[in-house]
Amino acid sequence: MTTKVLRSLQVVKKSGSLQCVVCGSRRYSTSTNAESFSTNTSSNTSSTSTNSTNTSSTSTYSRKDAELFDIVVAGGGMAGFAMACSLGQSKVLSSLRVLVLEGGPHTDASLEALSAAPHDNRVCAIAPPSVRLLDKLGVWHDICGVRTGPVKRMQVWDSESDAMIAFGDGHRALAHIVENRVTVAALRARVPSSIEVRYGARVQSFDLPPPATDGLPLLTLRDGGHIRARLLVRGASVVRGASVVRGASVEHLEVWTVCRGGNTAARGTDSLPWWQHCSSRYGQSAVVATLQLEREENESNITAWQKFLPNGPLAILPLRHGLSSLVWTTAPGHAQALLAMDARSFADAINSALWSNERAHSAPWLESLQRRGTQLARDVGHLFSSATAAQVSSRLLPPPVVGVVEDSRASFPLALNHAVHYTANRVVLVGDAAHRVHPLAGQGANLGFGDVAALTTALETSLLLGETLGSASCLYEYERIRQRENLVMLAAIDALQKLYSSTAPPLVLLRALGLAAVDAIAPIKEKIEAYVQR
């Protein structure tokens, strides 16, 4: 343990039990499925070095046997591969040497093979801004060629009250439900040949230069290779996006946290933590599955249903006619019970959760207040409505679930995670490495695509200003723009999650009236729709 304390927190969850590893030394050892991190500034890897960090940092960062790349993308998930495609397509950035390191194996699954295979249980809702980015990358057409589930209507309601809200007119797609592996495969196929992609490349450690110095990040791979990068882009591994087999363990969460306590007297710099994450565990797990719905003759499956239950929201997302994806956020114990049930009981549990009118607290005074409040909201809404405005939404019931696709049930834990800083000296975080959100709003992947677009623009502007690649001002610009957007979304989603996790009557009343107001007053609803579509 040195006086300069580097603390990293790593959370590994294996089959229900929680293990926390907190390490106080400069370089912490690798555990089985995790990556280690160090800020070793001397070639001596001993953790007892207490020298001032003013000593030359060139010995570690100028390894002669290290390959040098302009940009290294560590982690090839949706954000990582989207970043690679975006770099390859940009006129300004396409001449850079780029390397993508993906820990998962190379799969030969072509898009044609994926379209014939059964639906995967991990899906994302791709919003219109992300569709525009994917279209610009030339990937969206490929994805549509495989399969997407357009969401043309969305209904959200509460189990504790009669309040509900509906979006969409049934014609224009609000979002598209796409399987994660289809998105990743389509992005992989479009990565230009000038960009090198290495599969099965697990990073043993990252050696990052201290702030305001001129060193370059050094990556050490498990197979012993060394790579230096002028700019390191960190995304999350595609392994996390793979489908999880029923009953198997949950994923492990990586929290890439570093606190640097420097020798502040000698360096005269502040000792703010380099990388802290704001994180909270929700105490919930998400159960995913692919459901077979009753096929209705004249109606296509274009509606997304979300019901807020006391334990968490239950969402049914359309995939194709008669098939939908389930994302049920609930308590971990209930999640395990759901996984253990047989298919019939599972389908019955979903139907009863969706169709039941039971309330945790019901009081006549509460219900009459709600009715009056809803009526008031409708009256106010009429003030804003015109002849062409949509009528007050009518409440529909979702089609019954008739079966579950075999081997599609799985669960994973949920957490909120947000890096306090997205950038450091020559390193930048995109996608899930920077933020993880609750799935109740389906925005996780969209925020990642937004990061990719913003980082590409920031790099282009920076290079055209003649700055060096990975200059601090360029990365700071990216961080400023993205945090402004992401924090708003994160705060809103977290607030919604907390608001709907309670059954206390005052909160139920508040949220019922709020939901009714947003549904009835057209300008507010239009603003929300416009924000999502921007």
Partner: protein, 302 residues
């Protein structure tokens, strides 16, 4: 060039003072000013040092030079990353090379010129850290008058950014710059206007109140009124193509383009002395368009 501009009597009384200085000194080189910058040479590249506003000014002046040269056709490079390939630029009063380095990275062949040994040393030391600059960037420690008399080549562009307000004789300076310029070459100037507002902004606020620059960096008498400068340029065969004001936000450390040229302003002039076409002196509207830069100012000649 038709001589239908104002005579000396009609020029504003403030500029008359500045016009008379040319009779006192014939050189554009001022020993005192050079020593002032030499003393701070360690701090050229310090992130939060006294030259921080010059670093953030790159956000405006690099697109100014880049897009100005693209629009005048000085470069025909199709390279997305190096739009100034094949262009030669002289950066007068380059200091630590804050502007020279980005221009060299964009593909230009840049010669940085400064009269201060210490500044040139700092510039050379910093540029040696970046392998991309080798062969594209060279520095010379020399004053402009001597340099212009011993030229071995003329340049596509001469850039004098934040220099004019430190020289004694603007006329000698412009003459020397013009001598270094190829026919149809571009001259880029950024400096401070001499107005009551600039006294309040650039001296009182910047030096005493907000401490953005050290006290004594600027002298109000040496500020350059924009109209007088444009007339001087016209006399030398340099037609002003673009002028625009610039504004600094101290807390955010950001510069932005503004229409008002009362304090800081930028100017792009083109050497047209060799052409036989008779150019009118009044405004030619010219909007530099660059698909690559959202930051290009639209020009307006008043």
């Amino acid at each position: 060039m038709p001589q239908n501009y104002c005579t000396v009597r009609e020029i504003n009384i403030k500029t008359e003072t500045y016009q008379n200085t040319r009779h006192k000194q014939q050189s554009s080189f001022n020993d005192e000013e050079v020593r002032k910058f030499g003393a701070l040479s360690d701090h050229w590249w310090a992130r939060d040092g006294p030259y921080k506003p010059l670093h953030s000014l790159n956000r405006l002046r690099v697109p100014l030079v880049r897009d100005g040269l693209i629009s005048t056709g000085a470069t025909v490079s199709k390279d997305g990353r190096q739009p100034l390939e094949g262009v030669t630029i002289l950066d007068v009063g380059c200091g630590g090379g804050i502007l020279s380095e980005p221009l060299a990275r964009l593909g230009a062949s840049v010669t940085g010129l400064d009269a201060s040994h210490k500044s040139i040393e700092a510039a050379q030391q910093h540029s040696s850290l970046d392998a991309d600059l080798q062969g594209r960037l060279q520095y010379k420690c020399c004053d402009l008058d001597t340099f212009s008399q011993r030229l071995d080549q003329q340049y596509d562009a001469v850039v004098a950014s934040e220099v004019l307000e430190h020289v004694d004789s603007i006329e000698a300076f412009i003459e020397s710059c013009n001598a270094c310029l190829k026919p149809s070459g571009s001259l880029f100037l950024t400096t401070i206007n001499r107005t009551p507002l600039s006294f309040l902004g650039a001296i009182v606020a910047a030096e005493y109140l907000l401490r953005i620059v050290p006290v004594g960096t600027h002298t109000w008498d040496k500020f350059v009124p924009i109209e007088a400068l444009k007339k001087l340029l016209e006399e030398r065969g340099l037609q002003t193509r673009l002028q625009h004001g610039m504004l600094y936000a101290p807390v955010l450390d950001r510069w932005c383009w503004v229409a008002d040229t009362s304090v800081n302003y930028a100017l792009h002039a083109v050497n047209i002395a060799d052409t036989s076409v008779n150019y009118a002196l009044h405004a030619v509207n010219y909007a530099p368009e660059s698909p690559m830069s959202p930051e290009s100012p639209t020009s307006s000649l008043s």
